[in-house]
Amino acid sequence: MDFSWTEEQRLWRRAVRDFAQNEIAPRVREIDTEERIPREIVEGMAEMGLLAPTVGEEYGGVGADWMMATIAAEELGRADISLAVPVLYLVEAAWGFIFYRYGSDRLREEYLPRVTQGEAFLGIATTEPGGGSDILGACRTRAEEAGDEWKFNGEKTYISGVRESLDWGGIHLMLARTEPDEKAGHKAFTFFAMPLKGTEGITPTFFEDMGRMGISTGGFALDDVRLPADHQVGEFNRGFYHAMEGFSAARTLIGATCVGAAEATLGIGMDQIKMREAFGRPIASFEGIQFPLADLYTDLEGTRLSTYKAAWTMDQKYKHEEATHHDIALAAAMAKLKAPVLGFKVMNEVADWFGAMAYTKECPVEMGIRGIRSYSIGAEGTPNIMRLIIARELLGQEFLPTLYMEKA
């Protein structure tokens, strides 16, 4: 057991922290108000190798492993507690990896060099109006073979980066049903690379979010959308499994970025309680302040460790073939279960230390509270879905509640 960082990891954390604290942190309020990530930040991220970093160098990526990708996620969360820049980062890191792994050569050549340069967006689109986590029940978007093309009809919703994809160009990895027979179970879906910009038959919609305002949330309806055959990503009818792979990656990065934002907020809070006085002494000297701080810090450190364990497990799988998809799913679900909820709790507590100021935009904490909530509400699965996965890995598939629902 060795908790130390390698030289490369240490230097990378410092570099990302330097960049993020200098270029992103001072502009978080602006990002939140203007509802966009400034172009210079996207370009800076591209220069450092922070856009889809898990993609190989042949497509302009840097071939980062998951530990390095996770370090960057933590540092970006630490700088942008509104957690908007981290959405851009982690969606592209996780789903760029899936596209790099399973996309067709032509499409990878077309999109990945632009994605890694910040000139195109790469997102994920699985959720539909009927639901998100229950893909089997909710994914009704159909893809049908029409000659040498695919034809799509349906609707995707609560999708990050719809505006960015329309503005910059790019693709969303979109899950569609390709096997009408309900008995096919999970082997009924296929992944496709769906460009939103300029694609005939796409009608976008937009939502006004509560937080993490710098990145858009929207949806799109598909009305007889046609794409060439090479837009299929991965194996036919194996899309569900490719999606699960991407979800585990994204969950790990979510864990790290929420830990980073929570740590940053706790830091802001600690400065405040040392400075602010009540009843003639700094409020940091009250047990009512200290004990929650100690508890939160302890939980945070535990969550941080479990998040890095998830990243390590992913590297064990993808670099050394010494872990399974089950190991990854379990480790990533635990990180994702804990980090966003704990992060919210930390921010909520720190808000109390600031008093009324925390309820105003004079104080950054409100951006954090609004932003981090999106990571537990949804964003690659709710806490209950994480619990379902964890229990499934502990008890086995045969105890999945969904099995009993089908039997009933």
């Binding site: 570099a15 800076g44 220069e47």
Partner: protein, 265 residues
């Protein structure tokens, strides 16, 4: 073209310095960084290399901690990095340090241009660059804010120096020592690819013998500066007054009256 950048490590600019009773200076557990002024030199060297071709070698005289500065420069894009150290170097002032750096540069032999930061943020002597140029008998182009022209084949360089009196344009033969200041460029952040290279690279260590340097001319015996006493500057005494008023205008008026009364304005 072979460009050499001299650099050193310093404590982070946010470090809290303290001096104990024995006169030992400490910066606590502050991280070590490349001297921020040297980042401009490294950046300028990389820009020149990319424009004119050649290689950039970064050198630093210092103990193992000096690797921090070298690694940062390599992560930015420098091609080679050499650390120079010997136990005898301990306690060197700028006179001795410039001697060691000059000997190393002479040993390399094929150097066209030497860059360094205008000073280091720790001791702030502003001397090493000038001393280095003097020892090498190269033109000393300190406070350079712009390299206006460079002709590696013709062997000349034209720089703009930012002096108290204004900007001075100087042309000099190569090789020369250029001391960079803030504003000459915007140093890049280290990238993932650069860091991967910096973490894996071997950093050759030159001893004084490797640099053909005389141990008598380094360390305390080669230094002119003596440190009879080191102490923390006394805390400045002063009074702070918070000006109060109903409106900002009222506060401003009170402030102006007080400044007038103190004959500040």
């Amino acid at each position: 073209m072979h460009i050499v950048v001299c650099t050193k490590y310093t404590p982070d600019s946010e470090a809290k310095m303290s001096v104990d009773e024995a006169g030992n200076v400490s910066w606590g557990d502050s991280p070590l960084i490349i001297n921020p002024w040297d980042e401009y030199s490294v950046e300028e060297a990389l820009l020149l290399r990319d424009e004119y071709g050649g290689t950039v070698t970064v050198i630093s005289m210092g103990p193992e901690e000096a690797l921090e500065a070298l690694k940062h420069a390599v992560a930015m894009g420098a091609d080679e990095a050499i650390r120079i150290w010997d136990d005898a170097c301990e306690g060197s002032d700028t006179l001795a340090t410039s001697y060691v750096l000059a000997k190393a540069i002479e040993k390399m032999g094929d150097v066209d241009l030497v860059l360094c930061g205008k000073s280091a943020i720790d001791a702030q002597t502003w001397q090493t660059g000038v001393a280095l140029a003097t020892r090498l008998n190269y033109p000393s182009l300190m406070y350079t804010i712009n390299i206006a022209a460079l002709d590696p084949d013709g062997g000349s360089i034209t720089v703009e120096r930012l002096l108290e009196q204004g900007r001075q344009v100087v042309e000099a033969p190569l090789p020369a020592v250029v001391g960079t200041i803030k504003g000459i460029n915007e140093p890049r952040y280290t990238s993932f690819i650069g860091i991967r290279k910096a973490a894996k690279m071997e950093y050759p260590l030159w001893t004084l013998e490797d640099a053909d340097a005389d141990p008598e001319k380094v360390g305390p015996s080669g230094s002119g500066v003596r440190w009879p006493e080191v102490f923390e500057p006394p805390v400045r005494e002063g009074e702070a007054e918070i000006i109060e008023g109903e409106t900002v205008e009222e506060e401003a008026e009170v402030l102006v009256e007080k400044l007038l009364a103190e004959k500040v304005i």
